[in-house]
């Protein structure tokens, strides 16, 4: 576990080539420290999604650097070999919809990640259950996703994002389907988790209810990020 969180320097992404080329990301500079929760805000078409995909190691940037802790992930066209393993082991995802695997129960939904990494089933489940207490879903450990409420599902999704103790978690509109009370609860949990596991969390959102809670916010406009200070309001 690194003390340095995630660092992005001069990240660019160009789709296509020649006359039809579109520069989705022109210059992205970001840094999120471990234990920190930052917001990423931008109108649609601003390159927000592209940035998220680059951060999530789903697509490669055209230029620029990204570092996860001390490890270089991208460096001007160079990239680490196994992005899939990288996603599995070092990046946690929390999505707008929980996207739980419907045929696995709560425990296995979460334990699947350590299992995919090669951990024995029992150990993986133990690892998953450790999180449930903190997220207050212990009593639902054997339930199927379809039996959970929206908030519970989102908490399971958070647990899945956390289970491998990744240095960074990307949360894509995690509060969109929730009312303000629940949305704030999610943000509280994310903050708690960030503290607890020293994880850098980037929350992509345009949810007015939660924007005030961030201490630091990155705005993205036309592929360029601007950092500003957030209100850092309490979410109680």
């Amino acid at each position: 576990m690194t003390e340095k969180g995630i660092t992005i320097v001069g990240l660019k992404k160009r789709y296509g080539s020649g006359d039809t080329a579109v520069d989705a990301l022109k210059n992205v500079e970001m840094h999120v420290a471990p234990g920190e929760v930052v917001g990423l805000i931008g109108p649609s078409g601003s390159g927000k999604s592209t940035l998220l995909k680059c951060l999530g190691a789903v697509i490669e940037p055209t230029a620029g650097q990204m570092m996860l802790g001390d490890d270089l992930i991208y460096d001007n066209g160079w990239r680490v070999k196994d992005l899939r393993a990288l996603r599995r082991d070092r990046i946690g995802f929390v999505f707008q919809a929980p996207y739980l695997i419907p045929f696995l129960d709560v425990t296995d939904n979460v334990a699947l990640l350590p299992m995919l990494a090669g951990k024995p089933n029992a150990e993986a489940r133990k690892q998953a259950r450790e999180l449930f207490k903190a997220l207050d879903i212990e009593h639902r450990a054997r339930a199927m996703p379809s039996q959970l409420s929206g908030g519970e599902q989102q908490r399971v999704a958070i647990a899945r994002g956390l289970v491998n103790r990744p240095p960074v978690i990307l949360a894509d509109e995690p509060t969109a389907p929730l009312d303000s009370e629940r949305a704030l609860a999610v943000i509280r949990i994310l903050n708690e988790m960030a503290q607890k596991f020293a994880t850098a969390i980037i929350v992509v959102t345009h949810d007015e209810k939660i924007i005030p809670t961030f201490k630091r916010i990155y705005h993205i406009r036309d592929g360029v990020t601007y950092e500003e200070k957030g209100e850092g309001r309490s979410f109680e």
Partner: protein
């Protein structure tokens, strides 16, 4: 690692089992189709086996007695019997006709067997009920497929026969049950005209003044009697003595008696190669069509199941699941579907379809094994489309856009 395919099946087991059962019925039909072909070949073999003959002597240049009609004099057997190497020779007649029983017609192959007792060529080698024919007239042994019961009286042409014994699996090459009756009755039945025809013929003969001469009493009666005599049979079944080569015996009969003789292998060739060749081709076509339909159905089901899981697969990919795992998920499901289908198919083919089919359905274990392999292969092949589709899913789809 847990089995994702297993979990998915467990989760939607109802859909799976019922789809599998549907597929199973289709596979059952496919297996039955193969079984019908095997049954036809087996029927032909059993027909030859049960005749107890090594050689079939028939009318010159015919493919008789099963594939073509053949008629030879009924004393031909005496000459054949005296040829060296012939252990037994017996005349036989085969005629497919309607047999009446309580006013209902049953189509049957009436077989006339030479008097002599069990073991004479042409006699049913084993029974499942009753006894063999002991009287020289008006007794019959019928195949159980005819629906006749022991002790029942049936009518063949003008005569009534009592069913004294029952056989099983004694059918003609076209699947008609056999009814064994004494040769003399059968000859009569085969060539016997109905009463109207006889009366008509008598009238015509009577009106012919050349036959009905006033100065020659008795001439007309003699002529009418000579018209109703029948001395033909369809074939002579020959059993070759121990230590004699059937081919050589056949050759000497061919040479001296100027008759056509078939050996067992030639007869099988005629029955399987000629008589049921068209049906076999039909069944082969059906088999191919059914296999294609089955694979299309498996492919379609698996594709639908996979497409229903696009999000999940995208999430799985995003959280770092290996392609191998995803391929395994789809292929295992496809094979599981195939397995359920095969098991259901085998059961329905054996317990439901084989008994209700009017024709003999022979389900060879080896065919089942081939069928199983084919099902698994078809499932693997059918899942390829879905696998390609699944591998094309972009993990980015999980992230909003």
């Amino acid at each position: 690692m847990i089995s994702l395919a297993g979990r998915d099946i467990m989760h939607s087991w109802g859909k799976f089992v019922f789809t599998g059962m549907g597929l199973g019925l289709l596979i059952g039909v496919t297996l039955s189709m193969a079984g019908i072909y095997r049954g036809m070949v087996d029927d032909a073999r059993v027909l030859l086996d049960n005749s107890g003959a090594d050689l079939w002597v028939v009318q010159k240049d015919t493919l008789g007695p099963y594939a073509e009609s053949s008629s030879i004099y009924d004393d031909t057997w005496r000459g054949i019997r005296s040829i060296s190497g012939v252990a037994d020779a017996a005349s036989i007649t085969y005629l497919t006709m309607q047999v009446r029983r309580k006013g209902v017609d049953v189509r049957a192959m009436v077989t006339g067997i030479t008097a002599g007792g069990p073991g004479t060529p042409g006699w049913p080698p084993y029974l499942i009920g009753g006894r063999q024919i002991t009287r020289g007239h008006y007794e019959a042994v019928a195949d159980i497929a005819s629906g006749f019961k022991l002790g029942e009286r049936i009518k063949i042409r003008r005569n009534h026969y009592t069913i004294v014994g029952l056989t099983r699996r004694m059918v003609s090459s076209s699947g008609d049950p056999m009814v064994f009756i004494p040769l003399k009755d059968a000859q009569e039945a085969q060539f016997l005209k109905d009463n109207d025809a006889i009366r008509e013929q008598r009238r015509r003969t009577t009106e012919n003044s050349a036959f009905n001469r006033p100065g020659v009493p008795g001439l007309l009666d003699a002529i009418i009697a000579s018209q109703s005599v029948n001395t033909y049979v369809n074939a002579v079944l020959v059993r070759v003595g121990k230590g004699h080569n059937p081919d050589k015996v056949a050759e000497s009969i061919r040479r001296w008696k100027r008759l056509t003789v078939y050996t067992r292998s030639q007869m099988e060739e005629i029955l399987v190669g000629k008589l049921i060749a068209t049906s076999a081709k039909q069944i082969a076509m059906f088999l191919i069509i059914l296999s294609l339909v089955s694979s299309a159905i498996v492919a379609f089901i698996i594709y639908t199941l996979t497409m229903g899981k696009i999000r999940e697969i995208a999430v799985l990919k995003l959280i770092g699941t290996k392609n191998r795992t995803i391929v395994g998920l789809i292929m295992q499901q496809s094979i599981a579907l195939g397995l359920i289908g095969f098991v259901v198919g085998k059961i329905t083919a054996t317990l439901v379809m084989a008994p209700i089919f009017p024709k003999h359905v022979l389900l060879e274990p080896l065919d089942s094994v081939f069928g199983f392999i084919a099902v698994v292969m078809i499932c693997i092949l059918s899942s390829i489309v879905s696998i390609r589709a699944a591998l094309k899913i972009n993990p980015a789809e999980a992230i909003g856009g």
